[in-house]
Every structure is written in structure tokens, then in C-alpha cells.
């Protein structure tokens, strides 16, 4: 009997320590995450504060929230127009990036065109400013400053290399046997690509598109110089709120929340692929 009872005591003892360890572990994880999340929490809190609450000392954590800042953002500035500009530019740049990038990524994956892959990686090392400067001069000459085509073309610098780089790994994962079978059935290479490979890479296409959408949406420097009143995108618009004589923190934090929110939601939607993309980017470099 005692032989059976003994391990039970040990196990109970162990499980008590295990619970303590687990609690400490999750506490540590929570502590580590807190500072990273605090900035978002503070953005959200500030966007619901009135002007008086904004300047209170000590800063308020609990207060009566107001939606006034959000109404202001839509009523006082053409926020919707800026948002439409951002959508037009990022969606167009992503679609064009896919049209040009898909066959290139497929080709790099199928025929191991590593030189092209390295060229694309190298292009990502060049700072945007050295593309912006020549494009600015050329667009000034042809009167393209403050046009959608100028922004879309320069945003291709962001989207196309990113789409190609992320999609290479997804195309490499597709077994060549499937393509070979289709070719034996008389399908052309173009047919195989469009009817077999692209559908199979669909999750990768979705993930890389969203990645590219986010980076184009976030881009600041190109629109800062190349956009004007007509085509101003959201990041430049929210930055310009800062230069008003009296800084309206309620408006700025509400606008910042509205700009960042779609990005945060998209990140949650494709988190699985984002982590994969990150990992592959690291392993293959």
C-alpha cells in the first residue's frame, strides 16, 4: 500500500510547484508584453479624452470618455478623402506588384534564378531617399507631382520586391509532380502557372498581398514629397496635424487610431503567414 501511496505524495508536491512555476511564467510573459502594448492602450485612451482631460496632471487613466475627437476628425478635415487616397495607392501598387511579381517569383522558385533573388534582396537595402530624389525631379518636369500615377509607381518600389521575396518560398513548396502531370496532359507552361501553381500558392498570395498593402499604406516619405492636396495619403495627413498652431492631441490620437486600426486587424488576420514569412526571410537570407 505504502509503495502506491508514496509516489502520489511526490506527485502532489510536484504539481504544487508546477502550478507556481506556471503562474510565474505567465506573469513574466504578461510583464514582457505590457510595455509593448501600452503604447496602443495610451493611443486609444487619449483618443477618448477631452482637451482638458488631455492636459491633466497626473495623466488620467480613468475618465469619462468622449467620441468628440472622432467626430472632429471626420468633420474638420477631409479624412475620408485621405483614406480613399491611401486605399487607391496601396491597392493599385499591390495589384501591379502581383501582376509583375507573381511570374517572377514562380520563375525564381522553379528555375533557381538566385541572381535575380539576390538583386531583389539588394534593392531592399537601398534607402527610399535615393529613389525619391530622381523621381521627384522627373515628376516635376512632366507635371506628375500630386498625381496617383506618381505615387503608385513609386510605391511599386515597396510592393513588388516584397511580393516576389515572400512568394518564392510559397512556390518552392508546391511539388513539381503536380505541374509535371498537368504538362503531360498537354497543358502549356503558362497554363500550368495560371491553373495549377497560382491557385496552389493562393494562401501565399493573400499573405504577401496583405503584407504589401500594409507597407504601402504605412509609407510616409514618398507621399510627403510627391503628394499634394489632391492625393495626400493618411500618414502625411496625420503628420500635418502636428504643424497646426495649437496641437490638438485628441484629434491626432483619434486619427492615429483610425490609421493604425486596419493594419492591426489585418495583422491578426494573417498572423500565421506573417510568422512564416518572417522565418523564411531569415533562414534564406
Amino acid at each position: 500500500m505504502s509503495a502506491i501511496a508514496q509516489p502520489r505524495v511526490v506527485r502532489r508536491h510536484r504539481s504544487w510547484r508546477k502550478v507556481l512555476n506556471t503562474t510565474l511564467l505567465y506573469l513574466a510573459v504578461a510583464l514582457v508584453i505590457c510595455p509593448f502594448m501600452f503604447i496602443f492602450v495610451w493611443m486609444l485612451l487619449s483618443s477618448f479624452k477631452t482637451g482638458v482631460q488631455q492636459t491633466a496632471w497626473p495623466p488620467l487613466f480613468i475618465f469619462e470618455p468622449t467620441l468628440k475627437n472622432y467626430f472632429d476628425v471626420f468633420q474638420r478635415v477631409p479624412f475620408v478623402d485621405y483614406a480613399i487616397n491611401s486605399v487607391i495607392v496601396s491597392v493599385s501598387a499591390t495589384l501591379l506588384g502581383l501582376v509583375f511579381g507573381l511570374p517572377a517569383a514562380y520563375s525564381i522558385a522553379r528555375w533557381r534564378q538566385s541572381k535575380l533573388a539576390i538583386a531583389i534582396l539588394t534593392s531592399r537595402m537601398v534607402p527610399w531617399i535615393s529613389f525619391l530624389l530622381p523621381w521627384y525631379l522627373l515628376f516635376t518636369r512632366v507635371g506628375w507631382v500630386d498625381t496617383y500615377q506618381a505615387l503608385i509607381l513609386t510605391h511599386l518600389i515597396i510592393t513588388m520586391p516584397m511580393i516576389i521575396w515572400l512568394l518564392i518560398a510559397f512556390f518552392e513548396d508546391i511539388p513539381t509532380e503536380l505541374e509535371e502531370a498537368a504538362m503531360i496532359d498537354g497543358c502549356s507552361r503558362l497554363g500550368v502557372f495560371l491553373k495549377v501553381s497560382v491557385p496552389l500558392a493562393a494562401p501565399g498570395i493573400v499573405a504577401s498581398s496583405i503584407f504589401s498593402l500594409i507597407y504601402s499604406w504605412n509609407n510616409f516619405i514618398f507621399a510627403l514629397i510627391l503628394a499634394g492636396r489632391k492625393t495626400m495619403t493618411l500618414p502625411v495627413a496625420v503628420y500635418s496635424f502636428m504643424s497646426y498652431t495649437e496641437v490638438n492631441w485628441g484629434g491626432i490620437t483619434a486619427a492615429a487610431t483610425l490609421i493604425a486600426l486596419p493594419v492591426l486587424i489585418l495583422t491578426f488576420a494573417i498572423q500565421r503567414y506573417l510568422i512564416k514569412g518572417l522565418a523564411l526571410g531569415g533562414v534564406k537570407a
Binding site: 508584453i33 509593448f36 517572377a104 489585418l266 498572423q271 537570407a285
Partner: protein
Amino acid sequence: MSVAEKPVAAQVSRGPTDAVLSFIDRHAQWLFPAPAVIMLLLVMVFPSLYNIYMSMQTWFATSTAEPQFVGLQNFADLFGKDENFRDSIWRTIYFTALAVVLELVIGLAIALLLNRELKGHKVIRTLFMLPMMATPTAMALIWVLMYNPTLGVLNYLLSLIGVPPQEWLSNLALVIPALAVVDIWQYTPFVTLLLLAGLATIPVEPVESAKIDGASAWQILWHITLPLLRPTIVVAALFRIIDTLKTFDTIYVMTQGGPGRASQTINLFAFQTAFEYFHIGYAAAVSLSLIALVFMVSGVLIRLRRQEL
């Protein structure tokens, strides 16, 4: 490989469409990447060459005078007598070193903490991705609010542990560290996620046998985990150094390079030379110097990684 060698050309052509398709089949290896290559040449290679051409001119965007060819004069001026440029190089290196070293250390510590069976690990990892995905311009403005000396929450939180209030962004000595903190907030999670991916590929046997031999957790970390993780750490450093050297959005939004020039990195120096002083040729030379710095540093790191493999 074998797919490409299939005798596709032997197919019987039945019409113009088939002729096109079989042409594509025969030349697929260069036809498929061709559109992207042409676009890359147009949007990236062509402006880069134009940039080199500009860097050899005296060119003021504000004046009606034609640009004048001056050879390497801009570079001679930059490296020979422009103290502001020299300062911006050191600032860039200081900012990058401070941010990247801390990102690697903190990122590694968090990766080691998270590298175990955790409930909700997917949610945790996704939360960690938010800082680097969120629009940098918008987040930089939130940081400006938090750093505000009179109403900022940061000074308040620090006062709770007895730190006196600081003028973070207008103090010459504090502005670069304050900006580095923003970069650390944004990109430490990137390092963590990359290292977690690296940790997942480390074999368990060496760690297990070391445990049986009675090695302590520290010994295992120093002598087994870290050496095995080194290639991933170098890659994380490479990615972070390249991006941090080029940081623009955060610094421009938060300080515009100020106070004075205290946070004017090379990238901001190039931008302001171009779009505030309209000294185009000189700015082109600055941007080429930044490219050279990025390529040099990444060349060293890539060689470091090759030697290890």
C-alpha cells in the same frame, strides 16, 4: 528542373494561340521574370543611375541656372570639409548601435522566455507583431505625446519610481536614446520572432545530454544554445542594422532632426539638403554615401555568416 527539359517544342502547333503558347514554353525561363525585371529597371535601377549622375552636378532646384558638371567635387566637399555631414555619420552609427544591440539582447531574452509550450502562444506572437506593423508615422506621434515633458505619461510613470522629469526630445544628450527607445519598441519583437523561429530548428539532443551531464541552465545557454543560434542572430542583426541605418519616418516625425542637428542622421541630412535647401546634387552625393555605408556593413555581416556555415 526536369520539367523544363520536357520536349515541349515537339508539340504539334495547331494555330496562332498554340504558336504563342509554345513560344512561351520554350522561353519561359526568361519570359516569366521579364515583366518584373523591366519594372525593376524602370523604378529602381534607372533612378539609381540618375542619382549617380546628379551627384556629380552642382544643381539647385530653386535656381533657373542649368546644373553644372563638377565631377567628384560634391564628395570631396562632403568628406573633406562638411562637419555637419561627419557628425551625421557618427549620429547614425550611434543611433544604430544603441538600438540594434539592445534589440538583440532584449529580443533574445524574450525569445528564450517564450520558447516553450505556452497557452495562447499564437495570440502572444501576434500581439508582438503589432508594434512593427502599425503605421510608424502614427505611432511616432503617440510617442511624441508620451515624451511630452509637461503632460506626457512617461515622465509621470518615471516619477513613480523617483526619476525626475526629463525633456526627452529637446535635450541634446537624450534625444538619440529617446528615439532609439522607439526603434527598440518597434523592432525588438521582430528579433524575438526571428530568434523563436531559429530556436525551433535547434536539435534537442545536445541540450538533453547536457542536462543529463548536470550542466546548469546558464552553461547550456552559453555553450549550446547561443552557438547554435548564432547564424540566426547574425541574420537578425543584419536585417536590423540595414533598416536602422535607414530610419526616416520616426525621426522626421518626432524631431525633424532637432534640436538643432542633434538627431540629424545621414538619411535626414540627405532629405533636408534636398527638400529644404534644394541642393540636389549634394543631396544625391549624401544618399549615395548612405547606400555605401549600408552595403559595407551588410557585406561584413554576410561574410561573417558565410564563415560560420
